[in-house]
Subunit: 272 residues, 2 copies
DNA sequence: CGTGGCCTTGAAGAATCTCAAATAATGTGG
DNA sequence: CCACATTATTTGAGATTCTTCAAGGCCACG
């Protein structure tokens, strides 16, 4: 659990207090720990993640039904795998706390990271296709998930139109997510990719109530590089370049977005 | 309809008659035309694509239920769009004949191709997420699709466990497909990408009863390049390189795989 | 206080892209 | 059916981007 208490937030020295992070907290070990030890009855309708996770967009009659869903929670220590590629697919996992990476082992032993997942996001849906997980999921910090039996989820989907919509929408969202990543990989250079990555991260953190301007990366340069299709040295160089362009302030894994518009322009160079 | 009668198969001059294409036909305008004008009642259980398409893996009781699904067919002329990104999502489309590309228009006007689809494959599932199509689908040759109302599909899914499984499995398969494409884009060089692309195409053609060794590309070098994240000149050069390595014989869009093992080794350099 | 993991940076090399030109195939309109 | 415009493809040469190899720094941890 101690591996979470990494870089203490000491940006005050360099960060201007100007860009006031409104009603936002920086995602740290403490906020995570706060969610931890309680052993509530696991019910979606009470969950603090209900607007992000499975129940997202559901109204009372259906939401109630969702509580019929019985599932357990599971802690995963930093660095441990939640599941491995090839294992039998039984559960869909919803992240309660912490961050995960999805990855595949390539033939030659290298690893290809295919996604990062944070609170409220679902993992494992790629296992539906063949009944076995197509990728592995590894915790990047101490984490907790809800393990939802896929069979139950299916039962539930049959019981309500709304429920079914929600589930298939979640799967579709995964497809769309990968589409946009493909665009990133297929047609963008190093700066555009990293900018896109950071903006995406920033938005997702914002949606979770954290600061969208200042955050702590849970993944290494190598993992970012694998995800974005570039070498870790290139990731590092690009961070440095952004810093020099006064778009970011970078201190190891601590990132502060100084010029959001600028970063957005890097990501989407309008016309030519 | 005439735009289909493109390159007449005149490979005999260069192709050794040795590598006998067993029970296989080369996908041509004629085979396509053969499927055309009939106006049968549209039923999945009779469909010649039933082992590839929606009904794949379904047994009698469920298969029968599938025939309750009412949907129309639609012809799409070469170059025309079946749907555009942003349009309201109403139908899932199953390709009956012809080939499509999925693509997104980038901010700067360029196009990013995100997939190619052939007979028996479903298109449009990325629209479930937001109720509007996330990409456009364009016919690369005269084509025909079944337009399946998404609402009907959902009704059907609720009626049978098996049916539901099949549908969610299809969506999951899409996720897995994109995973592997991401790996292609993220960690492979030009030769590995093109080899992977050709091997994938080859397999899919084989599954449809066409020759896996000799086929006609429906897409341009630019489209292949966009899909694989490389420039059209690089695609062309890589084709030439493969030809020189005696892996392929290339005549414009006509491809013959001469050394399948060799091509596979290019794709998957074991260890290194 | 030394070790190992992670990150940064430099310099050289390789892969890919850009620009340019030539060729071939296709379609158009007389 | 021909001249002409158009598009797709191939190929070369130089520019650019990214990777590879190498070295050094920082930091947490034992």
């Amino acid at each position: 659990m101690t591996e979470l208490a990494t870089v203490p937030v000491r940006l005050g020295s360099r960060a201007t207090s100007a860009a006031a992070p409104h009603r936002s907290r920086i995602a740290t070990a403490e906020t995570l720990a706060a969610l931890r030890p309680t052993s509530l009855p696991t019910q979606c309708s009470n969950c603090h993640l209900k607007d992000l996770c499975l129940p997202c967009g559901m109204e009372e009659p259906d939401l109630e039904r969702l509580d019929e869903l019985r599932f357990g929670r599971r802690r995963v220590r930093s660095g441990d795998a939640l599941y491995h590629a090839g294992e039998r697919f039984q559960f869909v996992y919803a992240v309660r706390a912490g961050t995960f990476k999805s990855s595949l082992a390539l033939a030659d032993g290298r690893e290809q990271v295919s996604g990062f997942h944070m609170a409220g996001e679902l993992m494992g849906l790629d296992g539906v296709a063949n009944g076995q997980h197509a990728s592995s999921a590894t915790a990047l910090e101490d984490a907790e998930v809800c393990a939802i039996p896929h069979a139950h989820l299916n039962d539930l989907a049959r019981s309500s139109t709304k429920m079914q919509m929600v589930i298939s929408r979640l799967m579709s969202r995964e497809i769309v997510r990968e589409h946009s990543l493909m665009m990133l990989l297929g047609s963008m250079n190093a700066e555009e990719r990293l900018a896109g990555f950071l903006l995406n991260l920033s938005q997702r953190l914002k949606a979770r109530g954290y600061s969208s301007q200042e955050f702590h990366l849970r993944m290494s340069r190598a993992e970012i590089g694998s995800y974005l299709g570039m070498k870790l040295e290139t990731v590092s160089r690009t961070f440095s370049a952004f810093q020099q362009q006064r778009l970011l302030e970078v201190d190891k894994r601590h990132i502060r977005i100084v010029d959001l518009d600028g970063l957005t322009r890097v990501f989407q160079p309008q016309s030519h």
